[in-house]
Subunit: 285 residues, 2 copies
């Protein structure tokens, strides 16, 4: 199978490396606007050929994996749409699904049924193809969100490839995916970025960073993720994220009032509900 | 040396176990209002004697370690003040320092110079003496905040004991300690509790917790900390914490507007500043 990889970063590079290690692909053409990423991918043997454009990469591919930040997917889909062979299957690795599906529908027209929306839950704080690893997806979850229009054989092929590289598969509707990930991924990243940025700007920044052990370190780790990727995610999923952030800010308003009033009961009720929620589900986490 | 431990939980129990393992204490009397904790500490050999009150525990002690939640320290100090032998040194392990110092000054009067305020940065998400471990403080930071009034030999004794159990020592002023930890510890805990509680109350709670991998898991871990302890910390350090929370909410207001307006530049600027702050300091973290 010939693979085209559009967007050569941590996730796309790891998927290509994993598919090669599993013997699922014979040849990989890659395209990325960043020449540095292409050179790194070539020298690590993750791609065999540096394509001159997304269309050039996709031209003879059986499978096209679009692994750009989600904000660049509409352009990538449009570029490759005219170049695909009839049997080609296209998939993505984006952290949002409704926006990506809209982009794919607009670009692919009659070929849209052969697009399989997917989201591997992996990677994170060390972006870039230089950190790509063939084992990145072992035991990790990959969510697919096929639509009624999606060709079942295309969905089955993509899901089988993810299984071949060690992933667990789950299907959600695109809307459910985007709502859940706004809450458990996009909002936590936003909150972490906001806290680390605030502290970095403060006069005590150096002292604060040198005492990061007590809770803040988890935030700094989350906030080391790619700014480009997360800007795109926040914009692509802005409806659900805006709603989650608004609800969260209302919770903080209550906590601010409780602190200012010395109201320990409200604080305790919130903390105890949170601690109990985690304990009740520790086996599932 | 005879040790009295007032408040038998993760931190106090670990310190007592570590001091015994280091050969620094010969006998440990413990008091805790929770009979369950006392039984666990006795059966694990962390304390030798279950005292009937804080004063009973402190009566013949050379060193008294007060390791209750910070909200209970004023009462504990008052109870032991009349029972201390003249040479006794008292210390604490509280996460806030100004409030604890105020409480100690009020309770100890002329004996206040022999109180040494301390804060070991360790422990966290698994509270209770059943998780106490003699190696909990190895290579961990312990901050002391002695005052001009503090007896230098008392401070030296407490700091030497912490060094004996493997900790690194640092001195800060109480005000600086409370401001820094409001930012790097108390606020992150508050934010994590608030997010986990909000998601636990949502109709999608089960789906959200089963997809915690992508950022939310760090929040659930932080939010599994003791609600009693953290209510007390938030109230004891409410001045600095209120200020940090207010500043943070103002940052979130800006991010909400940016998301609602589709303003990618503002989002990117915040995210990039956060990611750069972490990268620039990764060796120090």
């Amino acid at each position: 199978m010939r693979l085209a990889l559009i967007g050569v970063g941590l996730i796309g590079g790891s998927f290509a490396a994993a598919l090669r290690a599993a013997g699922a692909v014979s040849q990989v053409a890659g395209f990325d606007a960043d020449a540095h990423a292409i050179r790194a991918a070539l020298s690590r043997g993750i791609i065999d050929r540096a394509a001159t454009s997304a269309a050039d990469a996709a031209g003879d591919a059986d499978l096209v994996v679009v692994a750009t930040p989600v904000g660049a997917m509409r352009a990538a889909f449009s570029e490759i749409a005219g170049a695909l062979i009839t049997s080609a299957v296209v998939t993505d690795v984006g952290s949002t699904k409704c926006s990506v599906i809209d982009d794919a529908r607009a670009a692919f027209g009659a070929a849209f049924p052969r697009f399989v929306p997917a989201h591997p839950i992996a990677g994170g704080e060390r972006p870039g193809v230089e950190h790509a690893a063939a084992n990145l997806f072992r035991k990790r979850l990959v969510i697919t969100t096929p639509l009624p229009a999606t060709d079942p054989s295309a969905a089955a092929l993509v899901e089988e490839l993810w299984r071949n590289v060690g992933a667990r598969l789950e299907r959600l509707s695109p809307e459910q995916h985007d709502k859940v990930f706004a809450a458990v991924s996009h909002l936590p990243h936003l909150l972490a970025f906001a806290l680390v940025e605030m502290i970095a700007r403060s006069p005590d920044a150096e002292t604060c960073f040198s005492h990061a052990g007590a809770g803040f370190r988890d935030f700094t780790r989350i906030a080391a993720s790619s700014p480009d990727m997360w800007r795109d995610v926040c914009l692509a999923n802005r409806g659900p994220l805006s709603e989650e952030l608004r609800a969260y800010r209302a919770r903080l308003d209550i906590l601010q009032s409780a602190i200012d009033a010395g109201n320990g009961e409200t604080l305790h009720a919130v903390f105890a509900a949170a601690a109990a929620a985690k304990r009740g589900r520790s086996s599932a986490a």
